[in-house]
């Protein structure tokens, strides 16, 4: 589904990703862990098409398409979804209107007719229930004045509505208490299916107690330096990142 080869990317002339290789197959959940500043969020941003990052080498294909050739909105229409670490507040645009525009723009991209208001509302209500999203939040301006937990839940709700093939969760656990974390994770899990995949970027292991990954990768200094089964996350929780840093730095 997703194939990343020797991906290099920099921002303002500084190289952050220094040759990433990653293969994600349908239905798989991959966790990307690593110390601060290792390039985790950069990888998420580059996959979603954030323009500030310059891709300086390598390739990314998604369902056979050259992802790097596509604009951010085209990637979204192809089925990539980025759950933001810091969801943006947009005063004046209600969540419901925002999503209606998004859904219909994606349908237009696929050559489908737009949903009418009734169809859309019915679908949205079902999805809101799925992630325990309060109806009143939908009518409010997008993320404006939302608590940290509400913002993250809104991300998962949007994901449920847009039904992406590949969800990229960028530190979705940051700033969440344990209850909010559980609700968000339940939302993600309810969307798991044999043809949907996810990349879960996180600094801590605790999210992975709830969203159990198939693979865990450790990103350090712009490269994936270690990959393993879900148990690797527990090992990292116990021993921290220093032993990996030492291993990598010793190799020089």
């Amino acid at each position: 589904m997703l194939s990343i080869n020797e991906l290099r990317a920099s921002i303002e002339g500084k190289e952050i990703l220094k040759g990433i290789n990653l293969e994600v197959k349908p239905g798989e959940v991959h966790a990307i862990m690593g110390p601060n500043g290792s390039g985790k969020s950069t990888l998420a941003s580059v996959l979603a098409g954030r323009e500030e990052y310059e891709v300086t080498g390598g390739s990314v294909t998604f369902d056979g398409k050259d992802l790097l050739e596509l604009a951010a909105e085209e990637r979204a229409a192809e089925g990539i979804f980025l759950a933001f670490q810091y969801p943006v507040e947009i005063p004046g645009v209600t969540t419901i209107n925002f999503l209606k525009t998004a859904v219909n723009e994606i349908r237009k991209y696929k050559g489908e007719n737009p949903l009418d208001a009734a169809q859309f509302l019915k679908m949205v209500r079902e999805k809101a229930k799925l992630v325990s999203m309060n109806d009143s939040l939908l009518k409010r301006a997008l993320n404006e004045g939302f608590s940290g937990g509400e913002k993250k839940r809104n991300e998962i709700f949007q994901m449920a509505v847009l039904e992406p093939k590949l969800a990229v969760l960028d530190e979705t656990d940051s700033g969440l208490d344990i209850d909010a974390l559980r609700i968000v994770a339940e939302g993600v899990n309810s969307l798991r299916s044999p043809d949907r995949s996810a990349i879960v970027v996180t600094h801590y292991q605790r999210l992975l107690d709830y969203i159990v990954p198939d693979f865990v990768h450790v990103l350090y200094k712009g490269r994936i330096v270690k990959s393993g089964p879900k148990e690797l996350a527990l090992e990292l929780e116990e021993k921290g990142y220093d032993w990996i840093k030492a291993e990598v730095d010793a190799l020089g």
């Binding site: 954030r50 604009a71 951010a72 980025l82 947009i90 005063p91 998004a102 723009e105 847009l162």
Partner: protein, 439 residues
């Protein structure tokens, strides 16, 4: 100063004296005396130049360099006018063609107990004392040449009176049509709105131009709010690329009165709006909202004044603009807090999105505070579209142009939502969405 400048001024002075010589005993009336004083003021002041601090960024040279037909005839019919405007069955509709109020074309649905609407001339004939009490009272000391000029030629326009304790259920929509299909036209409507104690009314002034020739509008509206009165007043300008508009709205508020103003400039070659509010009572509340969308080489200038003269009153102001191409915007917001006006709250904010490197926005907040126990704040921002918000929307599948228009619309939404006459707000929502979508 070019020779044409002298020409328009000379022509106007000549016109005035010619009209005056045709008057019989009327020339001695207090009404005419006010006009005579005004023409002298105009003669003395002359048209402003950028040396005048109030006109520093708005040069009227281009505006006064051509000749205009004042009070031109027009063959526009009611059907034509209705086609050019959105219908509103629930409103009192007042039509002004080339500045001239047409009772024939207008339709008043409110009862005469609730509201009296008459041409300025008729109102004066019927009740000179009442009209005289209000006419010119708020602007006689104004040092603005255009306002003086309007007073001197005040002839067209309406007198609106809401008696004490009347709540006017149906809004009053004043539609000003400039018919510039055949020639350059100029109009100087003068309106007086006097709202009695505890009177409530919603009023809109909508300006449109038809045709390709130039139109010049020099409009003045005086609004008096007696104690406990509540007035909502909206001004919508959707004119042509050859339309020049100078407008002054002068407001005086007495105790516990509430005034809401919304000024929306959609289109026009050159627009200058003066909105001057005197808070001359305690526990008054004045709100000013503004929106402007200049593109091409359009020029929009908003000058506002909140003059706090008595204690315990609030004023709040929010102006927003989106500027494209080579357009220019000006915002000058003055807040005066006089010595007696303790416990004043006065807030002002002007926010702009500038979408082109060739567009410019000049903002100048001016606070003069002579009382010591007040809360005042002002802020202006000028920036571009928020890139982070744009990316957020794109990452959800919304194309960049669509995301831009959504964000720009959202930027305007808090001003548009303040407009409480449904038909006017709905009209604006439509026009603004189109305007933001096409580019």
């Amino acid at each position: 100063m070019s020779t044409e400048t002298i020409d328009l001024k000379t022509k106007l002075l000549t016109d005035f004296h010619a009209r005056e010589s045709l008057m019989n005993g009327e020339a001695a009336s207090p009404f005419h005396q006010k006009k005579r004083a005004a023409i002298s003021r105009f003669e003395e002041l002359g048209f402003p130049t950028p040396k005048n601090e109030e006109w520093k960024y708005s040069n009227v040279k281009d505006l006064i360099s051509e000749s205009y037909h004042f009070n031109a005839e027009s063959n526009l019919t009611l059907a034509d006018l209705q086609e050019l405007n959105i219908p509103d069955q629930n409103a009192n509709i007042l039509y002004f063609v080339n500045g001239h109020y047409s009772e024939e074309l207008s339709s008043i649905v409110s009862s005469s107990e609730q509201i009296i609407i008459d041409s300025l001339q008729n109102a004066y004939k019927k009740n000179p004392e009442l009209v005289n009490r209000y006419f010119d009272e708020l602007v006689k000391d104004d040092s603005d040449a255009f306002t003086s000029l309007n007073t001197a030629f005040a002839f067209d326009g309406v007198f609106i009176h809401v008696p004490d304790n009347q709540t006017v259920e149906h809004p009053v929509i004043m539609r000003f049509m400039s018919d510039a299909r055949a020639e350059n036209v100029a109009s100087q409507p003068r309106n007086i709105i006097a709202v009695g104690r505890n009177g409530h009314v919603k009023i809109a002034e909508a300006f449109r131009t038809l045709g390709e020739a130039r139109s010049l509008t020099n409009a003045v509206t005086e609004i008096h709010l007696d104690r406990d009165a509540n007035v909502e007043y909206y001004k919508v300008q959707n004119e042509t690329e050859n339309a020049y508009h100078i407008g002054t709205t002068q407001v005086r508020m007495l105790d516990q009165s509430h005034f809401y103003a919304g000024t929306v400039t959609l289109n026009g070659r050159f627009t200058r709006n003066n909105l001057n509010i005197i808070l001359d009572g305690e526990h008054c509340e004045a709100h000013m909202y503004g929106l402007y969308f200049p593109d091409g080489s359009q020029h929009v200038d908003n000058h506002t004044v909140a003059d706090h003269r008595k204690p315990n009153s609030n004023s709040n102001e929010l102006y927003k603009g989106i500027l494209r191409d080579k357009s220019k915007g000006v915002f000058n917001g003055k807040i005066f807090v006089r010595e007696d006006a303790q416990k004043t709250n006065a807030f002002q904010s002007c926010k702009n999105i500038v979408l082109s490197t060739e567009a410019t926005m000049n903002t100048k907040p001016q606070l003069e505070i002579f009382a010591d126990d007040v809360k005042c704040s002002h802020g202006t921002t000028t920036g571009q579209i928020d890139e982070e918000a744009l990316f957020y929307m794109q990452s959800r599948g919304i194309s960049k142009p669509e995301a831009m228009s959504l964000l720009m619309y959202a930027f305007c939404a808090d001003v548009v939502s303040q407009i409480k006459i449904d038909s006017v707000r709905e009209y604006l929502e439509g026009v603004i969405a189109d305007k933001l979508a096409t580019k």
